[in-house]
Symmetry: D2
Subunit: 340 residues, 4 copies
């Protein structure tokens, strides 16, 4: 069977994750990987199994054997690499967010559109088996019309100051996944958004004009109401749950626990906590998202998650920040219309 | 042991519920019950066991043997009966809401205050064993400082048109319980409130300028953020859950199912739904709330839930309606200051 | 509506429990209660509400107004009271076991049979809403033919020495409920029984030639295999679960927890333990069993649990002891045939 | 880091499973694989990544670069290959059972012992994260002394006639895993065993003098009682649960569900069933067992599961069959003593 030949730009944590998954995939073949610094690859099976390991991303764009590029470098480099990849005729898998700036994202996606290559945004959670089952259950009509869409999304621990400083803020860095998830589940676009946010976890966030706790409500075109709750620090684990309530029922997905051991003693009953690391929780989702990307290329079938999805999630992150700053409901219309 | 002698005003569903619970209580003694119509008591054990059954509530206020009055009549009569009971020196247990009008509530509670009688508002859910355990766990410091307080509260089915018409609207009729619950759990007053509400269940609500679906966010004085989600119709049962997230952990209470049977067949695994009727779900809570009321009278100990609690919940219902109507965040300050 | 007039013999813990439930029942009316010692009734609502309180059980048998007798005295007196009640034409509700001796039980039940009165054995667990739902699910054919029937039944704590001494041993005192439960669920009679039992909880049991831990397997006439596990001391609560596996599925009932609070901290996730006291766990079942008894009398409908059920459970307790003592499989045939 | 060089004998389903896991392991390196028929490897990544693919297992024994042999061929060939591997100085990982005949197993293990190579039996379930956590919880003393050890183990569907015919019977083919699990959890040897077994799933089992349903009880040296329940066909999935009850508590592990989606409609609440395939349920356990094997070789640390464990499980399978056939309790002493 034909495989999709891949080059990866960026060999950090997420780049290596994708690299290893591609090495185990029946649908993708890892031909090249590039990064500014390559020493952290030494001794890995990536080092051993990939032909081209280079400091120069141009080697990837220029390689006629490469069908698709995975953009896993720092966010500020995404837009530029997207354009180059598109112009080189490579399909693109890009980590979220597309960029820190809506105009840059728009511009990059316009180049993609013109070039006709496929573009998938890295919203891995759409591929989580639990969330996917919820989605399919809704699609099958089991809960009727969705009325209330809830996403609880809490990180296990706050990132270091260095990360916070360049993260772009909680909404674009963390909530962006949840913005995509509510859109995915609602199957409808957002009309307006209201944010209540606070600094309750660590004053460091305030220092960078950022928040660490938020409850975000959204109105959808189909009338449904969405609500996202976020915290940068859930000490008991990576808390990732969804619930969709409709006129015929309710469907939800709980956290995955580390084990399903249950212990009862005279002091009470004890369970293991939810999984702690996102790589542990979403391990299979990361595998599935790249294979779905490959299938779309190989079978010319619809992408599970597009550039437009990436853009809309960024738009919501932008609107959320505005809502927080101005302490008011922001309509998506006004965002689209202003010269961002 | 001395018991509290009780007269009940109003012998409808909730009046009869309290009457039967009082008949089984070791702390309360039911001396009298009054209503405009008394025929629906015929054949009940209330009829058999209560000395005074009367059309005239004045018989209760005038009875020197009666220590406390339960006000279970229609909401529009509450304020008047409260004043009369207070002036007669009777302690008062009053069903929610105190009234449909903040000024009436204020005026009635002022009379109560002057007279020095005890006043308990009928927020039965504070006495649900599951919610109480959540509350105690928070009070014990197990989750540290509360950051996010969530209440899911969905009725099993919409009430009839006749009821909707005079209900005062969803916020004062149904959400009022949830307003009390978030205040109870947060242990802090509300600073502001924002409402997203909709007509998704039945157009009948719109006809009476009412809503049937809402997501309400609140900021608390201690910085915590609250969120309530409501629907008038959860077809799978009476959906009543709470969750409080803090810097040291999260605590929650699930629904009670009808039974804990579990069936797995080739088609999947089946559980019974949550309990459907509020009298079934909160049966024990109704018993506990009146015994706590009696204990406060007998032991001169603090009331578990006061007139101020009743007033604050009504204030929130008023603010919620304003927020919905004007599609904006409403601060509690502005409500307190305006001449309502 | 006509009620069944009741006299209770024995005013200890279980007698008082039934008395209070009868006082709250719409189908039964408590006319008399007798015991050797009556001082422990002083101050109770039983004292206040029951006309005849007597030291002499004959007062009950002689009372023409009494329709049914509840036998709640010590086990060694059951058989005699059963015969007297039957001869007096009173319907009988008798606590388990009928007697400590199979011949006595047989003889008493023969008198019952001849007299034509109704006789219900006090197997309250058949009326637990969870177990009943399991039973109904099996009856509805949801799991097809039962293959494996499992009962986990563990007391929260060992009884005092005084109790153990006269209990008749674990099988007749405690497992008897489980013998009835497996018969109830299997809807088939037992062919043989094998016991592995041990003294692991407390050496006091050995002193009285008794055990405190057992795993009992049974073969049913329909081919199904049953298994009961028992312990006299489950420190985490009253552990009462059932599971029935069939060719089309499996159905089970879990324990009821004290509350459904869930707390997650950095140390793990905590739940409350199962309910601890049998009166707490089976509270509603005790109410339902007596109302079902009343309905059978009033409507002339089949008893939910008969003297034969009581006898069969005792037969199994006897066979279990034999199996343990002789360390072999005992067939029910040999028990029926020997001159017990 | 040094890796353990491996040759695999047998390239069927389980051989390929191990091959793929070894290819992804950081501790093992797959050098060779042999089978009588090799065509089913064509197109696999095994074919691509393994140097030596041969019809002749002797190529593996003779290869000085190979440190360890995985024996994944049909059971009747195990004993012979074990001896050859041991004499060639290769460490051995052998699928269960070691052989169909206790004397053959004994003889093979004696050669292993003399040669000094390491031998691990393929009891993958010991490495399941859930069961392992239960084991560690017991080892940590959380439940005190174990009193009752329960294993529910039911296959999702009966194997084909061809398989049944040569399986050696349910006890050696399927229950052998459960025999190992109860020994693992009890941390004590079995004293005696009693079996109730039946043909309830399919008459085909009876044709081959086999059973498809069983409840097996065991007494352990430390006084604990064990119970295993088996069925060849649980239509709702692969049912694999354990529970250990002790004087200080109880610990258990539930099934893993396919997803943790939960759907509530007017008809009830639905969950996904347990995972259906053993490769799905025990996927990670298969990875862990071989890495633990590698660690024992590389670090000279104790094996997690030895030849003696394999032998004891077979002994129990033999005794179980005897107990079933003779319908009596069989002591392990008598089995050890008879000339098998």
């Amino acid at each position: 069977m034909k495989k999709v030949n891949v080059g990866i730009i960026g060999a950090g944590r997420i780049g290596q994750l994708h690299a290893n998954n591609i090495l185990n995939s029946d649908l993708l073949c890892l031909k090249a990987i590039s990064d500014i610094k390559l020493d952290h690859l030494s001794g890995t099976s990536i080092k051993k199994n990939v032909e081209v390991i280079t400091n120069n991303p141009e080697d990837i764009f220029a390689d006629a054997n490469i069908d698709a590029v995975f953009i896993c470098s720092s966010t500020d480099t995404h837009a530029d690499f997207i354009k180059k990849a598109a112009l080189a005729g490579k399909h693109i898998f890009c980590e979220k967010p597309v960029s820190f700036n809506l105009n840059d994202t728009k511009a990059a996606l316009k180049v993609v559109e013109k070039s006709g290559v496929l573009f998938q945004a890295g919203f891995n959670r759409r591929f989580d088996k639990n969330f996917r089952k919820v989605y399919e259950t809704i699609q099958a009509g089991e809960i009727g019309e969705p009325h209330i869409i809830m996403v609880s999304s809490r990180d296990p621990g706050a990132p270091p100051e260095e990360y916070i400083k360049t993260s772009g803020g909680m909404f674009i860095d963390m909530t962006i996944h949840d913005f995509d998830m509510v859109r995915f589940l609602a199957n409808s676009d957002v009309v307006d958004i209201s944010v209540k946010a606070a600094n309750l976890v660590d004053p460091i966030f305030e220092k960078f004009d950022d928040v660490d706790t938020a409850v975000i409500t959204l109105t959808f075109g189909n009338g449904a109401i969405g609500v996202i709750d976020n915290s940068r620090e859930a000490v008991y684990g990576y808390d990732q749950r969804i619930e969709v309530f409709g006129n015929k029922g309710v469907v939800s997905a709980e956290n995955e626990r580390q084990t399903n051991m249950q212990l009862s003693t005279v002091e009470g009953t004890y369970l293991d906590n939810p999984k702690y690391f996102f790589l542990d929780r979403y391990n299979d989702a990361y595998v599935d998202e790249i294979n779905e990307f490959a299938k779309s290329i190989l079978n010319n079938s619809p992408l599970p998650c597009t550039g437009e999805d990436g853009y809309q999630a960024e738009l919501l992150a932008y609107a959320a920040r505005l809502s927080w700053k101005e302490n008011r409901t922001v309509t998506m219309n006004e965002i689209e219309l202003i010269n961002i």
